[in-house]
């Protein structure tokens, strides 16, 4: 920190500033706990949390739980895409079907997904099915709405040109509309990826049900378990969320760098 602040050139770059900011927060937390300004049983020193995070990342038991959450996440995301994209293509390309469905959709969408957890427990038990169905319910909406929105943004001239050249409806959908809408669909998928992770962990917290980060956290929040484990679990979960988002953003840049929407998005 002292080295960097001495040189103007280093301080001017964004990554360096970000690193300094993070290191600063780390130092403040570390000093506050070491000086016992905060009760260390509540907030362990930052270094302890960091070391514990590294330790649980090498712990096969913890990794199995992470795997459980990620499995439900992946299956749920795949199912949500399989439902929402075709439905969005239909609702986005036909005004009548959109008008027919929109009232039902507007009534279903505001139901908070976690409220369905008790119902799904009663109907499906506490296994993977339960987690996956909740993830699907919550992740369908952003993908669906972004697909519909993307279909609306398809250049009508391009579509009419294709029609004039004798392309069939299916071919127009496949070769003109879908590529034009794909950046929007991707945005929906990226939003849903974060929601799916939230739902996976929420359902594990409430229902338990097989290995998962939420199940692990409940087990480690009992009295007698060192507090740093819970903090380390949160740090790792945050890193997973950050990682998923970073991968999806990198993918977005690669696939849709040509599209002006992508350049402005965060």
């Amino acid at each position: 920190m002292t080295v960097a602040s001495g040189r103007r050139g280093l301080l001017d770059s964004r990554p360096a500033r970000g690193l300094i900011g993070a290191a600063g927060l780390f130092a403040v937390l570390e000093l506050a706990t070491r000086a016992e300004l905060v009760n260390p049983t509540y907030l362990p020193p930052a270094s302890t949390i960091l070391v514990t995070s590294a330790r649980i990342l090498a712990d096969p038991d913890f990794l199995a739980n992470v795997g459980g959450t990620l499995l439900a996440w992946a299956v749920g995301m795949a199912a949500a895409m399989a439902i929402a994209i075709p439905l969005g293509l239909v609702l986005g390309s036909s005004r009548r079907s959109y008008l027919a469905a929109i009232t039902a959709i507007e009534l279903l969408r505001p139901i908070p997904s976690v409220a369905l957890i008790p119902l799904v427990i009663l109907l499906l038990g506490r296994g993977l099915d339960m987690k996956v169905s909740l993830i699907v319910y919550a992740s369908v909406w952003p993908i669906l709405f972004n697909t519909i929105y993307g279909m609306r943004e398809v250049d009508p001239v391009a579509r009419d040109t294709a029609r004039a050249f004798g392309l069939r409806r299916a071919a127009i959908l496949w070769r003109i509309s879908l590529p034009a809408a794909s950046p929007f669909i991707y945005t929906g998928i990226r939003i849903s990826a974060a929601i799916a992770l939230i739902l996976a962990i929420s359902s594990e917290l409430i229902a338990g049900g097989g290995p998962g980060i939420g199940t692990w956290m409940i087990a480690n929040s009992e009295t007698g378990v060192p507090r740093e484990l819970l903090y380390a679990g949160i740090v790792v979960t945050g890193l997973i969320g950050l990682g998923i988002n970073a991968i999806l953003i990198a993918g977005e840049r690669r696939l849709f760098g040509w599209h002006q929407r992508v350049r402005g998005s965060t």
Binding site: R14, R17, G18, G21, A22, G24, L25, Y42, R95, Y98, L99, A100, I102, T103, A104, L107, L108, P110, I111, P112, S113, V114, A115, L116, I117, P118, L119, I121, L122, P142, F145, I148, Y149, R152, G188, I191, L197, I198, I201, S202, L205, I206, I213, G214, M217, I218, N220, S221, R227, L230, Y231, G233, I234, T237, G238, L239, G241, L242, N245, T266
Partner: protein, 275 residues
């Protein structure tokens, strides 16, 4: 919604009273179809414990959440109070901090990684920790809601303030307009559409966190009712409470949309974000 432009449905051919009726019939068709299918299938299955009919659910909802005067004071109002306390706190913190961060590129560079990390934590993952630290009272639930929903507001405010036309800011500086006036008349109005986009996202997350925090640890509230009903296998009560939560979500969204419409009326059609 982003699809607001679809809400001018009447094509010339559909205009007139007959057209209006037809347009309404079209709009209700899938909904009515689904409800009829629900009613028919559940009557055929005849398993009222797991699969109550639509009319049974509506009846139970009416009994449990509308005509029972205790239901409001016992569950609904405590839940709404927590929700609003957490959300309002997040709005204040998010807008104030977001404005401060948005004003300076330098500050943004320093805090960006920290914010990106904190907002990547799925909020429910914090629940066990907050219970350990704060107990199972209202304090924990309000903190939980606040921490979970502050990020969309903060990031959208930062983004909105950072993208204020620099010419406007420079003009304010040239005319020596005091910062308070600049904030009120230049920065916040320009950032308002993005701030509202953040508020809308955060409101639906707040409902989710209210429910989940009440489900895991509490003695009252809508989430508590839900989990009690599930534990005693009263599935009809679970259905009825889900209906209530759907209504709460819709009403809160509608109120916010109305406020947004008023505040942003000067902008013509409000710029609406996706989602």
């Amino acid at each position: 919604m982003s699809l607001a432009n679809a809400d001018s449905p009447l094509r010339p051919s559909m205009a007139g009273v007959g057209g209006r009726v037809r347009a309404l019939a079209l709009r209700m068709s899938v909904l009515v179809g689904l409800l009829v299918a629900w009613q028919l299938i559940t009557s055929l299955v005849d398993d009222p414990v797991s699969w109550p009919t639509f009319t049974e659910v509506v009846g139970r909802f009416w009994e449990k959440w509308v005509t029972d005067p205790d239901a409001w004071t016992r569950s609904l109002l405590p839940s709404l109070a927590r929700l609003l306390a957490g959300w309002t706190g997040a709005v204040v913190i998010g807008v104030v901090l977001g404005t401060a961060i948005g004003l300076s590129t330098r500050v943004r560079d320093f805090v960006d990684p920290i914010i990106q990390f904190l907002r990547s934590i799925p909020p429910p993952a914090l629940l066990p920790l907050f219970i350990v630290l704060l107990g199972i009272g209202d304090e924990m639930k309000v903190t939980m809601i606040l921490f979970g929903v502050v990020w969309p507001i903060l990031l959208n405010t930062t983004d909105g303030v950072a993208s204020v036309d620099s010419l406007h800011r420079e003009t304010a500086r040239v005319y020596r307009i005091p910062f308070g006036v600049e904030l009120r008349h230049i920065l916040l109005p320009s950032a308002a559409p993005k701030i509202f986009a953040g508020l809308r996202v955060s409101l639906s997350i707040a409902v989710i966190l209210m429910v989940i925090s009440e489900m895991v640890a509490t003695v009252n509230g809508v989430g508590f009712e839900l989990v009690q009903a599930q534990r005693s296998f009263r599935s009809l009560d679970v259905w009825a409470t889900i209906v209530l939560l759907g209504i709460i979500g819709s009403v809160l969204n509608a109120i916010l949309a109305a406020v947004e419409g008023r505040v942003l009326a000067w902008q013509g059609r409000a710029t609406r974000a996706l989602m």
